[in-house]
């Protein structure tokens, strides 16, 4: 049994496997399948100041080895989370990452202030490609990433700030650096790639929103490349994700410089994906005689 504990910004996670935002709700449903205290952490469904009903359906489609989604940030609002779900997650002993989004800089400041001191991390979703009014606008350019990061940071006195980067950008390196210079304590990537699937019989996009965010196994090589580049451009911790389906996939991200990983779409293909991935990571480490997961972080050498 290898030691799977990792430390990100001074917060200890019992293992590096975190549920990715939007795929795990607030943990209650998966807890009906297995005890979620087994996983390292949960990034909550993306929350906004006020409740949102989200996009029309269909909200999901499938491609080869990938899925597309356009939920449009349906969520009960941050206050509802604080009064209804936070205690449940804390009692489970998982690291709680509040994923948040806003339409304006002011929204980001306000929502961070509400969560300050209550959760283990705030993860800034500046990259959700589905919300017309904001989302993408902040996540594309280094200047706006820096601006939104510093507004959020100013509102967080005691909770570390994680900034989640979009892959639909010109330079992941410049954007990672912009988050760092805006005051991010760590960064996470990647969010989904904007894509489209067409129903050729109706000659219409399958998803009501027309476009959706692509995630799942098929995006992994692009995500690995981006995580490697980002991790080597900043000196704050990086949380890697994008298409992780197995323990070996998670190890690949960690070898590229990720201090922890998030798992999203795999939870749909296999409800038990996260405990399985943790076990597979442990088996791989044992098989290679490695006692501590931290030994593998950032060990890839380019050719």
């Amino acid at each position: 049994m290898a030691d799977l504990k990792v430390k990100i910004c001074g917060v200890e996670l019992k293992n590096p496997v975190i549920a990715a935002s939007g795929t795990f709700g607030f943990g209650r449903e998966f807890n009906e399948v297995y005890d979620i205290s087994a996983i390292g952490g949960i990034s909550t469904k993306g929350m906004t100041l006020l409740p949102r009903l989200g996009n029309p359906v269909p909200r999901i489609a499938e491609g080869y080895g990938v899925i597309l989604n356009a939920v449009g940030l349906q969520n009960p609002g941050v206050e509802h989370f604080i009064s209804n779900d936070l205690k449940f997650l804390k009692d489970k002993g998982v690291t709680v990452i509040a994923n948040v989004a806003g339409n304006t800089l002011e929204d980001y400041g306000k929502i961070c202030a509400k969560l300050d001191g209550l959760v283990d991390f705030v993860e800034l979703n500046i990259s959700c490609p589905n919300v017309k009014a904001g989302g993408m606008a902040f996540g594309i350019k280094p200047e706006s990433i820096k601006a939104v990061t510093s507004v959020a940071k100013d509102s967080l006195k005691s909770t570390p700030l994680m900034v989640k980067l979009s892959p639909n950008v010109e330079s992941i390196v410049l954007n990672a650096q912009a988050a760092q210079s805006g005051g991010a304590d760590c960064i996470s990537l990647v969010n989904t790639f904007t894509g489209m699937v067409v129903d050729i019989e109706r000659r219409k996009p399958l998803i009501a929103n027309n476009t959706g965010g692509v995630s799942g196994a098929g995006i992994k090589p692009i995500a690995v490349r981006m995580v490697y580049e980002a991790a080597h451009a900043v000196n704050i911790p990086v949380i890697g994700m994008g298409g992780i389906m197995t323990g070996e996939d998670a190890i690949e991200f960690m070898m590229c410089g990720a201090g922890a990983v998030q798992v999203g779409t795999a939870n749909f293909a296999d409800v038990n994906a996260m405990p399985r991935i943790i076990e597979e990571m442990n088996n791989w480490l044992d098989g290679h005689g490695i006692k501590d997961i931290n030994e593998i972080v950032d060990t890839v050498k380019l050719n």
């Binding site: 795929t23 009903l53 909200r59």
Partner: protein, 252 residues
Amino acid sequence: MKDLLATVKSNVSIAENIYAITLTLTGPLKNISGGQFVNLSVGEGAMLLRRPLGICKIDGNDLTLCYQVKGKGTKKLTEAKAGDKLKVLLPLGNGFDLNEFNNIAVIGGGVGIFPLIAAIRAYKDKNFYSYIGFRNKAAVCLLEEFEKSKLLTVTTDDGSYGDKGNAVSAYFSDKNRPEADVIIACGPPVMLKVLKEELEKRNFNTPCYVSLEERMGCGIGACLVCTCKKSDGDNARVCKDGPVFNIKNINL
């Protein structure tokens, strides 16, 4: 709710483009109500999403699902052979709860009849009055499952079997329609929409429960991709809050 590795016992065509697959589970399924469904893995790797299929029949450790070949997942499923292993997450959602009713009108269209079969099978001593519709004669299947109904009307869109028409119009135009304490229905979205309109138009106060379909991600209520609209404007999750809803409470 559990994810099981089930063994395919048989997988046969029962009508044009419709198959029945029987899976042997590691133990018996208890307390299942019609309308509950499973999330079946059809092609790991390439197809990351599971396919939701209504529970149709349970015999001891054997679970039968009936499916129409629609797209690549159900097409792939037709290739499953006896002895193959498939992952199946079950049971999911809330089914029809008929405990307090005795006289039950059943309205089903196309693949919508499968969850209704499970509802009928779940109750031994109730009176069912069934109205079921198919596209044409080639699509007709599983009529034997409706035979214990006190009354059975079968329709086809083109009149090639039974009465010409559809299940909803057959129900409302039946002059000898028995008094029902509840209506349960499942079928294509347009059928349910017409059913809702007819009930409203006629001021029916018989409670009516319908089973909905929506594209799904997790199947357990966590991802919010399977939303339907409630009449109060809020959202509900088809997979977790449904798939069976009181028709009054949802917009169709």
